[in-house]
Amino acid sequence: MALTEELAKKIYSDMWRIRMFEEEANRQLGLGNVVGALHLYCGEEAVAVGVCSNLRDDDYIVGTHRSHGHCLAKGADMDHTMAELFGKADGTCSGKGGSMHVADLTLNILGANGIVAGGLGPGTGTALASKIRKTDQVSICFFGDGAAARGPVHEAMTMGSLWKLPVVYVCENNGLQQWVRRETVAVIDSVATMAGSYGIPGVSVDGQNVVEVYEAVGEAVDRARRGEGPTLIEARTYRFYGHSPGDLEVYRDSEEVEDWRANQDPITIFRAYMAERQWLTEREDEEIQGATAAAVSTAVKFADASAYPAVEEALTDVLDTSWRAEA
């Protein structure tokens, strides 16, 4: 699907939605309202939005530990997502998942995943389900360059390719594996080159450029829907924040971060793209940002007003206890 002015506006707005949601979540972490680990996606918005702009509601996504962006881009509601980060009863997962397990199964958002590479098998399995049922749903497996070192990635891609499953593997290569730079622990620079091992196309794109991501993933999604099998897409990107709270960022200097923020911000890059095409007036820009900020502030109010789950809830949802075997 060609990038239209209308879709471009949505993409622009969706990137702001992630950016503002996360910066607010980070502020709420400072206030003690958000607790636990908070892996911020800021800087990588073009990947999630570029990918999910190609998807239907019934397509599947599986995420990573850094997945607020994926969920929001697929359409997760900000109120309930924020409430989940607060550990509240109205959270997407009733306060039982938190930042690393945000999920909304009504939108086939199968969830963030706290295990690095943990989503690759399940994501490929949803594609297997689509093949068996002969639907044309597509599955997206997001993973990081750190996950590329793990065995389950190899096993999932091997079977994804073997059975030509409708899945797109999207590697967000931000060059950082928690507190370690990729080049110190990986021999191969580009994760896309791994695709050759599975006999599938491998494409490397500029993950700060949402148009590049959108177009490459669009082709991969079409290919998957046609039943021609998986594609591995590497989006070269960068995270603006540390790995999670407590990261002293000893692996990079502040100049590097400032340089990326100043010159490689995906929102700034896309704003220039739209301005060039006269797709975004200053007023529209203000309106988008204003409306998004208001929605984030509503989400915080919603999360704040929501109750903490009743303590009895700690003991529910382990198994479906209502189910009994009946012949």
Partner: protein
């Protein structure tokens, strides 16, 4: 009633459930070639060619794909060739399958069955003979099923396939050829209901999987001593039917818990602790366990046979609690 083997019972259960429900499919290594390593999936490829997936040797991938397919509403029946290989997929079992419902606040259902051929079969040493039921009992969100007869195997596997939550299904390799009567009509066996395999008054013997048959043999031998034992087969270790066990213990006051697996920190330890908590005042003797010593399975048949509990070990243990 028909007399069939446990292998046939499992085979029939899979075929019946695949006929009943289009979302059931089979995935595993060698499941088409020779109908699977134990021929359990024989004939599936011919009848349902689109619902059987013979995989590369990739246990993490196999279980991982199963979890995803289950999340998407399918009902995968996964075969792991030897239980021992499930270690390669423990993340998928423990962190993904087991916790998905909970972590999503009840949104997700993972109706996956993972079949694990286990225990001493041919003499194939320490990496092809384990059981390790207690590993899985320890994890909330998993159901652990251990049939010991053809009837139980069929009814429990059918229930497992219909369950909305993950099931770890143990198949003792040496029991595949065991024969027994199976009802001709459709039936299911619910989880969490132990079966009293032999009624008795003097001692309760809780026997698991491969130990059930041996314990029944021991029961016959012990009649010569004048001891009348009650044999309880929990059939599912999680959920565990504590009521049936405790009721028997209250009657007899003497307990032996028998498992083929290593005793230390094992299934019998959990059952013994549960009995201690609930029936302490009813006990006339300390709860005794029969199990394998804390060693890996040796290769030499003479050694393997010496560590796997036999009928004689059960007889001795009952005599001890009766003394």
């Amino acid at each position: 009633m028909s007399t069939i083997t446990i292998r046939d019972a499992l085979h029939d259960a899979i075929h019946e459930e695949m006929a009943r429900d289009e979302s059931v499919f089979v995935i595993g290594e060698d499941v088409i070639a020779q109908g699977g390593p134990y021929t359990i999936t024989e004939g599936v490829a011919e009848k349902y060619p689109d619902r059987i997936f013979q995989t590369p040797i990739a246990e993490a991938g196999i279980v991982g794909l199963g979890v995803g397919a289950a999340l998407a509403g399918m009902r995968p029946v996964v075969e792991i060739m030897y239980l021992d290989f499930i270690t390669c997929a423990m993340d998928e079992v423990v962190n993904q399958a087991a916790k998905m419902r909970y972590m999503t606040g009840g949104q997700a259902s993972v109706p996956i069955v993972i079949r694990l051929p286990c225990g001493l079969g041919r003499y194939v040493a320490a990496q092809h003979s384990q059981i390790n039921e207690s590993w899985f009992m320890h994890v909330p969100g998993l159901q652990v099923v251990v049939p010991s007869t053809p009837k139980d195997a069929k009814g429990l596997l059918k229930t497992a396939i219909r369950s909305p939550d993950p099931v770890i299904f143990f198949e003792y390799k040496r029991l595949y050829t065991m024969e027994g009567e199976v009802p001709d009509d459709e039936y299911l066996i619910p989880f969490g209901e132990a079966d009293v395999k032999r009624e008795g008054e003097d001692a309760t013997v809780v026997a698991i999987g491969g130990m059930v048959g041996k314990t029944l043999e021991a029961g016959t031998l012990l009649e010569d001593d004048g001891y009348d034992i009650e044999v309880i087969d929990p059939r599912t270790l999680s959920p565990l039917d504590t009521d049936t066990i405790c009721e028997s213990v209250r009657k007899t006051g003497r307990v032996v818990v028998c498992e083929e697996d290593t005793s230390f920190a094992g299934t019998g330890a959990e059952i013994a602790a549960m009995i201690g908590e609930n029936c302490f005042k009813d006990l006339k003797a300390p709860v005794t366990r029969v199990g394998m010593p804390h060693v890996p399975m040796p290769f030499a048949p003479s050694l393997a046979d010496s560590v796997v509990p036999q009928v004689g070990n059960v007889v001795d243990a009952v005599r001890r609690v009766m003394a």
